[in-house]
Subunit: 257 residues, 2 copies
C-alpha cells in the first residue's frame, strides 16, 4: 500500500517513521517548506516535493498531517478521487474531504510530539473515524498496525477528546511554565520541581485525579491561600488564575465528600 | 540520634520510613488518631502514643509532620527546650518554635505523598532552614543522609517554592481532573489520556515548559478556541478557566517570540 504524506512537521515526521517501520511504502512527502521536506525525505529515504503540482497521483492513501489552517486550501488543490484521504487533526471535520473523494476519514493521534524526541508510536492512542463502515475498516487496519491503542470514535467524541487533551497537556504544561517562572524568581533551579512533576503525573495511573487532589485549596486553608495570593501581587494575571483554580478545586473536593 | 515523629499521615509515614532506613532511631510516634499511629508503629516496630502527655522527653530531635492547622496547638503543649524541633511545612514560619527552644528549623520535602504508594526518598528535594548556622548544619546533616537533593533556603525561598509547587502539582492535578470529567462525558476511558499526560510531564526534562508549549491557544486558533468554548457551555466555570488560560498562554507565546 503506497502512502503519500502531506506535511513534514512533528506529527508528519513521527507518523511517517512509524508507517515506514511497519512496512508501509511512503511514496512521496510534500511540504511547502523545502527544509522540512528534505529533512524528512533524508530520514526516510523517500522523494519529496514542495510544489503540489508535482504530486504523485497513484498512491492508495493520502495522509494530511499539517496545521488545521493549511488543510482546506491544500485539499482544494488535490484531485485523486479514487484514493483514501485521511487527516490527523482533533477538531477538523471529517467532511472537509466530502467533495473530493468517496473514501475519507481521520486518524487522530492523542499525543504531543516534538521533532527531536523519540516516542514509542505503538503506545499512542489513535482515534479513528471513517466516512462509512468500509473506509473505517481500512483505517482501523492501518491504525492497528501502528499502535496497540486504536479506538473507533465519532466526530463528537474526537472533538471532546481534543478538548480534554488541551487540559491534560497544553494547560498542564502552562502550569509548569508558571511554576518555572516563580521558582526562577526565588533563584532556585527549575530542576527542583521535576521530581514533584513526575510524581504528580505518575500518581494518576493508580488513583483518579479527583481523589489524588491535594494542596491548600482542597481544605480551603485561608491562611496559606492568603499568603500565596499576597505573593502574586506583582503578577495580577497569575493571582487571578490562582484564585479561580483554588475556588474550583475546593468546590470539587467538597462535592466529592 | 533519637527522633520522635509527631504525626502519622502521608509525610510522617514516608519520612519516618526513610529515617529508619538510614539508621536513625525513631523513639516514638505520636498521633491523635490511634488508627494511624498504630499503623505506622506496626510498620516501623516503634512505640506510639495518642496522648501528648505521654511524650518521650529524651529524644534529640522532634519532627512535626502534621497539618499546618494542628501545628501551633501541638507545639504549645510540648516542652523539651534542649532538643531540636523541626517542622516539614512549606508555608509555616520557622518562628512558630521560637518561644519553645533555641534550636529549631524546617525540613520541607518538595514532593506529593500518598500513603499507599512507595517513593524513592533519596530523590526528593529537601529544603532546609535552621534558626542559626549551627542548627542549619545539623539539619543539613540529617537531610543529606535522607536525600541526594538537599538545598539550604531562606523563608522567602521556601514560601515561593511552596507556591510554585501548588501550580506544578495541585493545579496540574486539577487539569487532569477536568480532562477526566470531559473524557468520561464522551464515554471513553480516562486511560486514553495517560500516554499524553506522561509525555507532557516527561517533555519538560529536556525542554523549558515555555518552549514546550503547544496547542490551539499558542497560535490563538480562533476556529478551535470557539468550538471548545461552545463545548463548555454546560460548564460555565470550566469555560471561564479555558478562556483565561488560553489568553495567558497566547500572551506568553507572543512574548517569547
Amino acid at each position: 500500500m503506497e502512502i503519500v504524506i502531506l506535511g513534514a512537521g512533528n506529527i508528519a515526521t513521527h507518523l511517517a517513521k512509524a508507517l515506514k517501520n511497519k512496512g508501509f511504502t511512503i511514496a512521496q512527502i510534500y511540504s511547502r517548506t523545502a527544509e522540512s521536506a528534505k529533512a524528512l525525505s533524508d530520514m526516510l529515504d523517500v522523494p519529496y516535493i514542495t510544489e503540489i503540482d508535482d504530486l504523485y497521483k497513484n498512491a492508495a492513501v493520502y495522509i494530511y498531517a499539517l496545521k488545521d489552517s493549511a488543510l482546506e486550501t491544500l485539499i482544494s488543490r488535490i484531485n485523486v478521487p479514487e484514493a483514501i484521504h485521511i487527516h490527523t487533526a482533533g477538531s477538523v471535520s471529517l467532511n472537509i474531504f466530502q467533495d473530493k473523494t468517496s473514501r475519507y476519514g481521520v486518524i487522530y493521534p492523542l499525543q504531543t510530539f516534538s521533532k527531536t524526541k523519540n516516542i514509542d508510536f505503538e503506545n499512542i492512542p489513535l482515534l479513528v473515524e471513517g466516512n462509512n463502515a468500509e473506509t473505517t475498516k481500512i483505517l482501523m487496519d492501518i491504525a492497528n498496525r501502528l499502535s496497540t491503542q486504536c479506538f473507533q470514535v465519532n466526530s463528537e467524541q474526537r472533538a471532546k477528546l481534543h478538548l480534554s487533551a488541551v487540559f491534560a497537556c497544553n494547560f498542564t504544561n502552562y502550569m509548569y511554565a508558571i511554576a518555572e517562572e516563580l521558582v526562577t524568581e526565588s533563584n532556585l533551579p527549575f530542576d527542583i520541581l521535576k521530581p514533584l512533576i513526575a510524581e504528580t503525573a505518575d500518581k494518576i495511573n493508580n488513583l483518579s485525579p479527583k481523589l489524588a487532589q491535594t494542596g491548600p485549596a482542597v481544605r480551603y486553608d485561608a491562611n496559606i491561600l492568603e499568603k500565596h495570593i499576597a505573593m502574586l501581587q506583582h503578577k495580577p494575571e497569575l493571582m487571578k488564575i490562582y484564585k479561580e483554580l483554588s475556588e474550583q478545586i475546593h468546590k470539587m473536593a467538597t462535592t466529592n465528600q
